[in-house]
Symmetry: C2
Subunit: 194 residues, 2 copies
């Protein structure tokens, strides 16, 4: 246990350890419960040491949320060797798996991050923009005409999908396959409708 034996880590390793512990904490509670104190406690170090790395709670939240968003994006990165529709299905499959494997972490990101500092909200928005970019690229390859309407539709569908993942993947008994199919169909239906 980290708290029982304090190991001497290099600054980079210590920072990485603290960020990883912070991401881990999102799996058991909302972002607002993660403080410099609670992080210090779980790392078995002083609050001062944690503050040395992150200055403020908001600064620490930014780094933790950035790491969590990076791991979401990494886990769902489109496989460019696939055709657009297969690629979309494959990405959605990995997205639903990620959400179910990191249940409360995802919830904390979607709900809690909205309650965070401006920089945290910006990180979440950037993550959504990356996801929207992937989806736009797939639809452009399929011949969908580009334009403001497509961009708004895709961006709005990202909000749709987040709600589906919270309600469907976290708070329902629907199978992962059903949720993937649901997301797959609604993405295509929305783009076809606009």
């Amino acid at each position: 246990m980290a708290a029982t034996r304090r190991t001497r880590l290099s600054p980079d390793d210590r920072r990485a350890q603290l960020i990883a512990l912070g991401v881990g904490a999102l799996a058991s509670g909302p972002l607002e419960d993660l403080t410099l104190e609670s992080l210090a406690r779980s790392a078995g170090v002083s609050r001062g040491l944690v503050a040395h790395y992150f200055d403020t709670k908001d600064g620490m939240h930014s780094e933790v949320v950035r790491a969590a968003c990076d791991s979401l994006l990494h886990a769902t990165q489109p496989d460019e060797s696939l055709e657009p529709l297969d690629r979309l299905h494959d990405t959605l499959t990995r997205l639903v798996r990620f959400v179910r494997e990191h249940r409360l972490t995802f919830y904390s990101l979607v709900r809690g991050a909205a309650s965070g500092a401006p920089e945290v909200r910006e990180l979440i928005d950037e993550t959504r923009a990356v996801q929207a970019g992937w989806l736009v690229a797939a639809f452009l390859e399929l011949g969908t005409p580009d334009g403001e309407t497509l961009r708004i539709a895709v961006r709005s569908w990202i909000a749709f999908a987040e709600q589906t993942l919270v309600d469907g993947a976290l708070h329902s008994e629907l199978s992962s396959d059903e949720i993937v199919l649901f997301l797959d169909r609604t993405a295509k239906a929305i783009v076809a409708a606009v």
Copy 2:
């Protein structure tokens, strides 16, 4: 001007005036900028008097957000004399009009409310649930089979519509008719897809 001449109001009138000023403040800034002090200043009364009515900032936020949500729901209440599809179109028309007439107020509700206290988030969620209920009722009348999937689809479409309203109605040059059509089509497309 309220601040130049302090009128004596009954407690009920004073409370109503403070709530109305609070709702008005959402049109020029986010919920988190609305404090007991700023509300006292705009009403031309002491902070103590405002605190007497609402106790805490969170308590005041709840009442202000409740009033703003009530006026949104009131302005978009479905006209039960219309057939389901016409009713949906009519409600969406009034929704887009409301959002464009109360631009930053709506934005503050959608974005800022997420950053509020738990009671505030609950009020917003209740408002979304009312809107989802209207939509579900229309689709059931049209013969759509009821079930968890329909509920999740409609709830997710509400999140979709909020994003469309922020991006389309507030931050684009799309006409109101175009946005209404966009929302109308996507709602039907999503329900048809699931």
